[in-house]
């Protein structure tokens, strides 16, 4: 098995997911609902306009419907409402200026987290193989990771734990002698 293939495919898949962000979620909703579901009611209820039944929400819904009837574009309708009520009615901030942070940071953090996890894991794997070769050099007969029976696997793990402890104690002894 080429060990890199599966995780790489996984990463590609995630990138595709992240790249295919916004517009794909939208479904055959009616055009008015598509707009009102992106807006927040500016009165104290603070709800998404499409589900809001307070007076402000209802008048916003009417404004959107009238706008569509008048043949205005989505941007025009939202723009008119924003100039009336302020940026606060956008359910998600416009991705520009300072507010770009809130859009980029989550995905950047996810990818960074993956990168860090990957590096940490690789370092741990490498250290493990160094230890294994060192053990083999010292005449250990264990052929690592090739035990054929599932029943032996638990035993192998126990052996691992013992080995790790022995190594730790050896290190401590050495340090003690040096001190």
């Amino acid at each position: 098995m080429r060990p890199l293939r599966a995780p790489l495919a996984f990463l590609v898949l995630i990138s595709a997911l992240l790249a295919g962000s916004a517009p794909l979620l939208a479904k055959e909703k009616d055009p008015a609902q598509e707009i009102t579901s992106q807006l927040i009611c500016p009165c104290s209820c603070g709800e998404v306009v499409s589900g809001c039944i307070c007076e402000t929400g209802m008048s916003m819904k009417a404004a959107v419907e009238n706008g569509i009837k008048a043949g205005k574009s989505k941007q025009e309708i939202i723009g008119a409402l924003v100039s009336q009520y302020g940026e606060v009615i956008r359910g998600a901030p416009k991705p520009e200026g300072f507010n770009l942070i809130v859009w980029i940071a989550p995905f950047a953090a996810t990818l960074l987290g993956f990168a860090i996890a990957w590096l940490v894991l690789r370092r741990m794997v490498r250290r493990r193989s160094e230890l294994a070769t060192a053990a083999a050099g010292a005449g250990s007969p264990a052929a690592r990771g090739t035990m054929p029976f599932p029943a032996v696997r638990g035993l192998e793990e126990d052996l691992d734990a013992l080995r790790a402890r022995a190594e730790k104690e050896l290190r401590q002894m050495k340090q003690g002698r040096e001190a």
């Binding site: 898949l13 916004a22 479904k27 009616d30 609902q33 359910g91 995905f107």
Partner: protein
């Protein structure tokens, strides 16, 4: 009586302080006397808190309007059971409930480990007592529920009508049982660091406590969603409201911890990471209380606004600093025992799972707090709401769903090509089939299709997991399939309980997919006899009536519901006007079938006599609740493992 209440909280504060000091002294000197004294003080706090709660409840039930809290949150016409539950309607009472549950956890902890002489458990109790100091102090000096009004009003201001709902009677206590419970894992982790303890025994104990409160938090969140669905009347159950987010964040990190703790148990790795996750879970649950109770962000919970924000923030900062300092100070203790064999393995997948849970938490945290940040920097008020979270959190959550399928079929340590082939080909194949089946039903777009693929993939891997387990045991036992499944689950409750929780989560994903992407809406003013068409439904107004209920008057629309031309039911969406509140309340009419909900709202009655009706078809909503029940079932199975261990432990003298 109010003096007695205040006194009991003040004594509770003194006892918590004493417990911390006494146990610290005992740990330092090794004397058993101070340790015992400290434990008793923790018990005493519990008793005093119970006393305070009884006194406040007495005042609430008697509608003793000389208490400010009673006057602000009840009224004389409030039904008795809501008077009882208005204990958690306001800030002071909620904090008292917090303390009650916290001190109950403290006592339960001491009771569960009463036979252990190890001072480690005293150190745990000390950390719990330290948290008690904060809450008893807050309730004594900053936000007392026993404040008295010089001139009692003739009647109270009444309970917020939103809270006059059966769901609100159980949602807060259950949610708090989850929230507050994370104090125990946190205390364990801090005690390990304080006493420089190694070993994995504590991690098994912590896993059980965490699983317990994690389950309660999950149920609390779902009850909250159910309440929002029925009571808020906007057609949905999850609005990415700051308070909803606040409860979701500790749940997410807690879920991450429940996974990565397995690596520590089996391989002795990721110790620092696990302790960080525990601390983060606790801090986030404190932060959640802070968000709900501080009024920093406006939300449907803004009735809980107040001035305790700075105190909470201060406490969170102190706890975070202490935890970070301890983790750094004891770095050597947390060194990994083991090394990794391969990146593509169960361990590796758990680590990536953790990254996703933390990323999801981070996105939620950032989105929730960003309006405050942005307003401070740019001066413009903005909203970060559902449209944002749907775009940012959904792809991360879907990635997590795919990993849910991949993780459990990767073997520990390393995965060979044949294992990969054996475990992945069938689920992937069935996933593709599911997508092909879903396409003609109108499922388009990347996210819905990925969700369907992931759901089929995960379910297949779970079924395969069960099938393999049964096959492996077949030689030993024969019998009917259900019996075999039961005995398989009994053999490894943690693993199969976990699988069942996964299955429940998949069902919830499908419910969310159906109700968000395929929701249909229609609205309009209806005169008597007029109809509104919505998908296969026709809604006909038959009239509008007014009537009186205990403390509210209702306007109800009578709506006949037809599906495909056949009469199904008569529904009664209403608007309620509570005597003590100016705001009209929506009383939703729900027509539930297994595959979809018809959700009717009466917007109001217009001057010309027509009724404004808002209607939604919410497909698959019931999957969300059923998925929740499946998750509870799986959690109970995984938790029951604990009882078996307990019984085995007992015979040892």
């Amino acid at each position: 009586m109010s003096e007695l209440g205040r006194l009991s909280l003040l004594l509770g504060f003194a006892c918590s302080l004493f417990a911390v000091g006494s146990i610290a002294w005992g740990l330092r000197t090794g004397l058993s006397g101070p340790l015992r004294g400290g434990r008793r003080a923790v018990w005493a706090v519990c008793g005093l808190t119970v006393l305070a709660v009884i006194l406040l409840e007495r005042a609430l039930l008697a509608r003793d309007m000389s208490y400010r809290y009673v006057a602000e949150h009840t009224s004389k016409d409030l039904p008795l059971h809501y008077a009882f539950t208005s204990l958690w309607a306001g800030q002071e009472g909620s904090l008292l409930l917090w303390l009650l549950i916290l001190s109950a956890y403290g006592s339960a902890f001491l009771f569960a480990y009463r036979k252990r002489l190890d001072p480690f458990y005293d150190a745990v109790a000390m950390v719990i007592a330290a948290v008690m100091v904060f809450f008893t102090g807050l309730l004594s000096f900053v936000s007392s529920p026993f404040r008295i009004l010089a001139t009692p009003p003739p009647d109270g201001m009444g309970l917020n009508p939103l809270l006059q709902d059966p769901g609100m009677m159980i949602h807060p206590p259950i949610l708090y049982t989850g929230y507050v419970g994370f104090v125990v894992p946190f205390a364990f982790a801090m005690a390990v660091l304080l006493l420089n303890r190694s070993g994995t025994r504590w991690i098994e104990e912590v896993r059980r406590w965490t699983l317990f409160c994690w389950g309660f938090l999950g149920v609390g969140i779902l009850l909250g969603a159910r309440w929002a669905y029925i009571e808020l009347g906007w057609g949905g159950y999850w609005g990415w409201d700051p308070v909803e987010n606040a409860s979701l964040m500790p749940w997410l990190v807690g879920t991450g911890f429940l996974h990565s703790v397995m690596i520590e148990q089996r391989r002795g790795m990721l110790k620092t990471w696990n302790i960080t996750l525990i601390a983060l879970t606790f801090l986030l649950s404190m932060f959640g209380t802070f968000l709900t109770r501080s009024g920093v962000l406006t939300s449907v919970h803004s009735f809980a606004e107040s001035n305790i924000g700075p105190w909470f923030l201060g406490f969170i900062l102190i706890a975070a600093t202490a935890a970070t300092a301890l983790i750094l100070y004891r770095k050597a203790l947390l060194e990994s025992e083991n090394r990794m064999d391969a990146i593509v393995s169960r361990e590796g997948s758990f680590l990536f799972n953790n990254v996703l849970f933390v990323a999801l938490t981070f996105a939620t945290f950032l989105g929730t707090t960003f309006p405050v940040l942005s307003e401070a920097v740019t001066g413009t008020k903005i909203s970060v709401s559902a449209p944002f979270f749907n775009r940012v959190n959904v792809p991360i959550a879907l990635t997590l769903l795919l990993l849910t399928g991949a993780g459990p079929v990767l073997s520990w340590k390393r995965v060979t090509a044949s294992v990969l082939k054996r475990n992945f080909v069938l689920p992937a194949f069935l996933g593709v089939i599911a997508v092909l089946v879903a396409l003609p039903f109108g499922a388009t777009g990347v996210y819905p299709l990925v969700c369907i693929f992931g759901a089929a993939f995960v379910i297949t891997t779970i079924v395969m997991g069960f099938a393999r387990g049964i096959q492996a045991r077949k030689s030993a036992e024969t019998g009917a399939l259900p019996g075999q499944v039961v005995s398989l689950v009994q053999k490894n409750k943690r693993r199969y309980g976990g699988y069942i929780v996964h299955a429940g989560m998949v069902v919830i994903f499908l419910g969310v997919l159906g109700s968000s992407v395929f929701q249909k809406e229609a609205h309009g003013p209806l005169r008597n006899g007029e109809s509104l068409k919505l998908g296969p439904y026709a809604l006909t107004l038959r009239g509008v009536t007014d009537h009186q209920r205990q403390n509210a008057s209702l306007t109800t629309a009578i709506v006949d519901v037809q599906r495909d031309g056949k009469f199904v039911a008569t529904e009664h969406p209403s608007k309620a006007f509570y005597s003590k509140s100016q705001q009209p309340m929506t009383e939703v009419a729900l027509h539930t079938t297994p595959m979809e909900d018809l959700y009717l709202i009466l917007g109001g009655v217009n001057e010309d006599g027509s009724a404004s009706i808002q209607a939604y078809i919410n497909p698959l909503v019931s999957f969300v609740w059923v998925g929740g029940l499946i998750m509870v079932f799986g959690t109970l199975i995984a938790l029951s493992d604990r009882m078996r261990l307990r019984r085995e432990e007992k015979p040892v003298p």
